[in-house]
Subunit: 358 residues, 2 copies
């Protein structure tokens, strides 16, 4: 049967003070009162019934995830005792699901982006499930059609098409964050897609790859699936590495008899990496101001104002292109450009004002 | 005997959201945790004992004034039921004190400025008291030696010196807010002082002027002195006018047999009219930032940050010359330049977010 695993981890300091150690960005109700996680869940339920949707997140966030997604049974919420990078956010759920259902096929989805249109997303994932089910050798990765020579994304080099599928093709190579000239050449060639960081595969297939490439991880996640009570003891000992380094790149280079297949994800995606991207997504008034919460602006243009505190008014005058974020215990004032440095500011806030603010 | 009346009225919207309808700027603890009113009181007690210091303020502020100045007896706090301009803030206390002590001599002082050095202030006021006591015709006004051709102040045109006093001289004319060329000529001539808006006079002398020039006001404040219980009924019927228009200008033009005398006030004064002047007064760090309360600044220069909320951190990065003011229910973000428009912003906040914020 088909399952979805939603990955919702990370601390998201780039959206501080909205995001905190205890509230990563996927849990923030940024989009019309809904969180990125909630939006990911709504996408997932277009693919499978609610009881086959799992969420893997940090253990400290389990309560908030449960509150945000009451439809997900507690047994389907996987809380990592500590972050051990993406290989383990993939390996642990695969072992858990293989233990429940040896025929499980898993779509491993992210919750970091806004994705539109939804129908195209669903159609692409259906194809990816079909490809994964058609051949136990197939590890499917989703590829977004690039719209710019972005240097911050990973790229997939597309190879021969898979007969019988609308978009599926072999992947020749993974390329992480190219320089600007390379990215421009990739875009011009039409042979490269952005690596969406979403995967579809049989649970047994990904576990077989682990057994071959990361045998220690394979043994440990299998142990965790059989003995969930050993989580806090075993999980922190997992080797910390990414799914790209641990599985996808070696398999694409022929390290096992599996193969990496890409399926096109013909969507607009917006990575919610910081306030600048958030400002692009939210609706602006005629003066170009985005105001979420109580705000009064006079002689002000192109500002992003987020105020999460009812009964408090945030007011701006004579300023443009500012980011002002007000929360119960912390206020950020910066520019759209300066917002890129929020991560460094958060470190200074922690050392200067106290760790309780971050 | 000598008395001091401190005038502490006005709503002070130009320091919003620090100042509110319920908290005028004189009550804000801006200067090392002390209010402008408190500083004025500390000046006053250099002149007279605490029990001879009165404060005239708006009735809504009486509780806050009492809390700020516990040394002042309730009977010495005069709360105006509504603002009726400066003539009545002078006339009412004069009538009250004349009723208590027919020989009362009053220094009527403001609480809007920072004044340094204190010793020079005390010496000037002692001279002013001496001048007022020397001749019942003398109405003494204090004159600040101008340091710039300021067009926002009133000017005193100095006439012949009064024999026997260090600085006292007759006043030939009052001139309100001159244009720039006139102000420059005044400064160059050396014959003009800034009108400090502070006065020293016998209570009976100022009441005699009122009887001659504003008989209705004279009758009403005399009635109030004898029957304080009629305050709410009578005070709102007082003619609304300034002490300059009501007394000082007509007397300087020979309307009565009294005379206006100026005494030099050789001080630095800083009018706390807005955030720009506040930023000049408070101590800046090496990057030119003035931070009052919990604030964390990174890559930020020349900013004024005032945060009145303990347990809340205000953080800035990538910005310069900003004004950020955070209070429990309102936050202001503007530039030092834009702060000039705060009064207009406050009107918009009241209409758009609610009158409770102003």
């Amino acid at each position: 049967m088909r399952y979805v695993v939603i990955m919702a981890g990370g601390s998201g300091t780039r959206l501080w003070p909205l995001s905190r150690k205890g509230t990563p960005k996927q849990l923030l109700k940024l989009i019309g009162g809904r969180s990125l996680l909630r939006l990911a869940f709504e996408r997932a339920r277009r693919l499978v019934p609610d009881d086959r949707i799992l969420v893997v997140t940090g253990a400290p966030y389990l309560d908030e995830v449960a509150a945000d997604l009451p439809e997900v049974a507690p047994g389907n919420l996987l809380g990592e005792p500590e972050g051990r990078d993406s290989l383990n956010a993939v390996a642990w759920p695969a072992a858990v699901l293989a233990h429940r259902d040896p025929d499980a096929v898993i779509a491993q989805l992210t919750a970091d982006q806004l994705i539109e249109p939804l129908d195209a997303f669903v159609e692409a994932l259906e194809e990816a499930f079909d490809v994964a089910e058609a051949d136990p050798r197939n590890l499917v990765t989703l590829g977004v059609l690039p719209t710019s020579p972005h240097t911050g994304y990973g790229y997939l080099h597309r190879g021969p098409a898979l007969p019988g599928f609308p978009t599926a093709c072999r992947v020749l190579e993974f390329r992480e964050k190219p320089d600007a000239a390379t990215a421009a050449a990739y875009l011009a060639s039409g042979d490269y897609w952005w690596n969406a960081g979403m995967f579809v595969w049989r649970a047994t297939t990904v576990l077989d790859q682990l057994a071959a490439l990361e045998p220690d991880t394979h043994a440990k996640v299998s142990e965790l699936a059989a003995h969930p009570d050993r989580l806090n003891e075993v999980f922190p000992t997992l080797r910390k590495t990414s799914v790209d380094f641990g599985i996808m790149e070696p398999v694409s280079q022929g390290a096992t008899d599996a193969r990496v297949v890409a399926v096109a994800l013909p969507i607009q995606w917006r990575d919610m990496g910081g306030f600048a991207s958030l400002a692009e997504v939210l609706a602006a008034d005629p003066a170009g101001n985005v105001v979420d919460g109580d705000g009064v602006l006079m002689d002000a243009e192109g500002n992003l104002v987020i105020n999460t505190v009812p009964g408090h008014v945030v007011s701006l005058t004579g300023v443009s292109d500012m980011v002002v974020v007000h929360t119960p215990d912390a206020t950020l004032v910066t520019t759209l450009e300066g917002a890129e440095n929020v991560k460094a500011l958060v470190a200074q806030v922690a050392s200067q004002a106290g760790a309780r603010y971050v």
